[in-house]
C-alpha cells in the first residue's frame, strides 16, 4: 500500500520535476564556484591535508540531504493536513496511517537521493572525489534524510500554522548547517556548541560523507554514526506516526 502513496507523490511531482531538477544542478554548481573556488582560494593550506573544496564538498552533500529532506517534510506535510488536506482523502481509502506516512517519507527519500546524486555528479566533474567510496554518500544521504525528515513530519503534523515552520528553519536548519562541520571542523567550536553538533544528526552524516569521498577513516566509528542516525530516524518515525494518528484517527 505504501507504494501507491509513493506513486501518488511521484505523479504530483511530475508537474514540477523539470524546474526542480534544474535547481538541483544549479545550486551545487554555484556553491562549487562560490565557496570552493572563491573561499578555497583564501584557505591556501587546505584542511586536514586536502584542498578546502575537496574537504568541504562531502559536507555540502550531507547538508543538501538535510535541507531537501526538511524542506520537503515541512510545508508539504502541514499543507497535507491544513491546506489541501490530501491526507484526509488518503485516510478514507483502505490505507493505514503507516502507509500514508511511509509513502510520503519514501518520496522525501527519493527527492533527497536525486538532489544529492546531482550534487555528486557536479562535484565529481570538479575533481573533488578521491575514492570510489564516494558512492556511499548516497545511502548516507538517504539515512540523513530519514533522520531529519521523520521528526520534521512529526513537528509539521503537530502545528497548525506555518509560522512555526519558519521557526524550525531559523533555530534548527540554519544553525545545524553552519555548525555541523560542513564549512570548518567541529573541533574549532567551543565545548558546548561542539556537543550540540554531536547531538544533532547532520554532523554524523558529514563525517561519514567526508570519509567516503576522501577515502579516509571517519572521526567516529562508522557503525556508531549509522546507529545514531538510525536512532533519530526510528524515534522520529514513532513521533511522526503518533502525530499522524492523532490527526487522522479521531
Amino acid at each position: 500500500m505504501t507504494r501507491y502513496v509513493l506513486e501518488y507523490h511521484l505523479v504530483s511531482y511530475r508537474r514540477i520535476w523539470r524546474s526542480s531538477v534544474l535547481s538541483s544542478f544549479v545550486l551545487p554548481l554555484l556553491t562549487m564556484l562560490g565557496f570552493g573556488v572563491g573561499v578555497g582560494a583564501y584557505v591556501t593550506g587546505g584542511v586536514e591535508g586536502v584542498p578546502y573544496l575537496d574537504w568541504m564538498v562531502p559536507g555540502l552533500i550531507a547538508s543538501t540531504a538535510m535541507q531537501v529532506a526538511i524542506g520537503d517534510s515541512s510545508w508539504p506535510v502541514l499543507g497535507g493536513f491544513e491546506w489541501q488536506r490530501i491526507y484526509f482523502g488518503q485516510a478514507a481509502a483502505p490505507l493505514r496511517v503507516a502507509d500514508i506516512l511511509d509513502g510520503h517519507l519514501a518520496f522525501v527519500v527519493f527527492r533527497t537521493l536525486t538532489s544529492c546524486a546531482a550534487f555528486l555528479l557536479i562535484a565529481t566533474a570538479f575533481g573533488t572525489m578521491h575514492s570510489w567510496w564516494a558512492l556511499a554518500t548516497l545511502p548516507i544521504a538517504a539515512l540523513v534524510g530519514l533522520a531529519v525528515a521523520t521528526p520534521t513530519f512529526a513537528y509539521a503534523a503537530s502545528v497548525r500554522v506555518d509560522s512555526y515552520l519558519a521557526v524550525l528553519f531559523r533555530l534548527g536548519v540554519i544553525p545545524m548547517s553552519l555548525f555541523s562541520g560542513v564549512f570548518f571542523p567541529v573541533e574549532s567550536l567551543p565545548g558546548v556548541l561542539r556537543w550540540i553538533a554531536y547531538a544533532l544528526p547532520l554532523w554524523h552524516g558529514v563525517d561519514l560523507s567526508r570519509a567516503a569521498t576522501l577515502g579516509t577513516a571517519p572521526d567516529w566509528s562508522p557503525v556508531g554514526h549509522v546507529l545514531y542516525l538510525s536512532l533519530w530516524a526510528g524515534a522520529g518515525w514513532l513521533l511522526a506516526h503518533r502525530a499522524f494518528r492523532r490527526r487522522l484517527v479521531v
Binding site: 501518488y8 505523479v11 504530483s12 489541501q84 478514507a92 481509502a93 490505507l95 484517527v249 479521531v250
Partner: protein
C-alpha cells in the same frame, strides 16, 4: 440486508459527548439521511461509519465487519465524499481520480477507464485535463463525488454534499445522486437542507445534541410531527405576540416568531376563514404545505446553534 448496524453508539471527545448512544440500521439500496443542526453529531457519526474514528462505546458493524479491527477492509468497499473537499489542486481532474483509484489497488488501466466513465457521469469530461484549482465549487464537488465512486463502493457516505453550492450546482448534484440511488447504490448522507432530505432520502433520522430525536420517512415524519398545512400570518405591529392570544383554538398548534405567526392546521383555507371571522386583518397570509423543515424546527428548536 443490513449494511450499517449501530446500537448504543457513543463518541466522546475530551470533555464532551458528540454522539450519545444512537441506534441505526441502514439496509442495502436505501438512501438514508442524518438531519440535524450544527453540532448535532452528524459528522462524528459519519466519521465512525467511515472507519476513521473509533467508537468510544456501543456496537457498530459495517458490511458485517468490525470497524475497530477491519478498518481497511471496510474502507475498501466505501465511497466517501467529505464535507470539505480534499482534492489535489495541483493535479488534473483525471489524475485526481486515477491516483485515488490506485489507493484501492485498482490496476492503472482499469483506473483510467473508470476515470473516463466517472467524468462522463459527473459531466466533467471536458475538464478532464485541466487542473482542479480553477474549477468552480460545484465542479469540485462533483469531482469529489466521482472520486468517491472510483472503487465501485457498496455504500457512499456524503457529508453535506451540497453545502455552499449555488442552486444550479445543487440540482445537478441531486440529480446525479438520484441516478446513483436508482442504480441501487446505498447512500448515507448528512444535511441540514430539508429539501435535500425530502428529495433524496427514503428514511432519515433527526439528530439533536448527539441523540436521535425522530426517525422515519420524510412523509411519516411530517405526518407525525407537523400538520398537513401551515398558515403564515404577518401583522403590521411592533410585536406579533398580541395577536397570538386572539388566535387560540385556530389549528392544532401555534408558533410566534419575531416577524410572523405560524398556524399548524389540517386545512389552511378553513383556518384563514376563521382568522377573518375573528376580524383580524394580517398584512399578509400564506398557506403552504407542511415541510420537513417544520418537523425539524419543531424537534430541534429555533435557537441558533453555532
Amino acid at each position: 440486508m443490513t449494511l450499517i448496524h449501530a446500537r448504543g453508539l457513543v463518541k466522546r471527545f475530551e470533555g464532551f459527548t458528540a454522539v450519545d448512544g444512537i441506534d441505526v440500521d441502514v439496509q442495502r439500496g436505501e438512501a438514508f439521511g442524518f438531519l440535524g443542526p450544527n453540532g448535532a453529531g452528524k459528522s462524528s457519526t459519519m466519521r465512525m461509519i467511515g472507519c476513521v474514528s473509533p467508537p468510544t462505546d456501543g456496537v457498530l458493524r459495517i458490511l458485517d465487519m468490525d470497524p475497530r479491527r477491519d478498518g481497511p477492509a471496510i474502507r475498501a468497499r466505501l465511497g466517501v465524499c467529505p464535507q470539505l473537499d480534499n482534492l489535489d489542486l495541483e493535479l488534473t481532474v483525471r489524475e485526481n481520480l486515477t491516483t485515488y483509484a490506485r489507493f484501492f489497488g485498482i490496476p492503472r488501466k482499469v483506473a483510467r477507464a473508470r476515470a473516463d466513465e466517472l467524468l462522463d457521469f459527473v459531466q466533467l469530461t471536458e475538464r478532464a485535463d485541466s487542473k482542479v484549482e480553477p474549477l468552480s465549487g460545484g465542479m469540485k464537488r462533483r469531482l469529489t463525488i466521482a472520486r468517491a465512486l472510483v472503487n465501485e463502493p457498496e455504500i457512499v457516505l456524503l457529508d453535506e454534499p451540497t453545502t455552499g453550492l449555488d442552486p444550479q450546482a445543487r440540482h445537478l448534484v441531486w440529480e446525479r445522486l438520484f441516478r446513483l440511488k436508482q442504480q441501487g447504490v446505498t447512500l448515507v448522507l448528512t444535511t441540514h437542507y430539508m429539501d435535500e432530505a425530502e428529495q433524496l432520502c427514503d428514511r432519515l433520522v433527526v439528530m439533536d445534541g448527539g441523540r436521535i430525536v425522530a426517525e422515519g420517512s420524510p412523509r411519516t415524519l411530517i405526518e407525525q410531527y407537523s400538520t398537513r398545512e401551515v398558515v403564515e400570518l404577518r401583522f403590521n405591529a411592533e410585536s406579533q405576540e398580541v395577536f397570538a392570544g386572539k388566535l387560540t383554538g385556530v389549528g392544532r398548534r401555534l408558533e410566534v416568531l419575531p416577524d410572523r405567526i405560524l398556524l399548524y392546521v389540517d386545512d389552511g383555507d378553513d383556518a384563514v376563514a376563521e382568522v377573518q371571522r375573528r376580524a383580524l386583518s394580517p398584512a399578509s397570509v400564506l398557506v403552504r404545505r407542511s415541510s420537513l423543515e417544520d418537523v425539524f424546527l419543531h424537534l430541534t428548536g429555533r435557537t441558533l446553534v453555532d
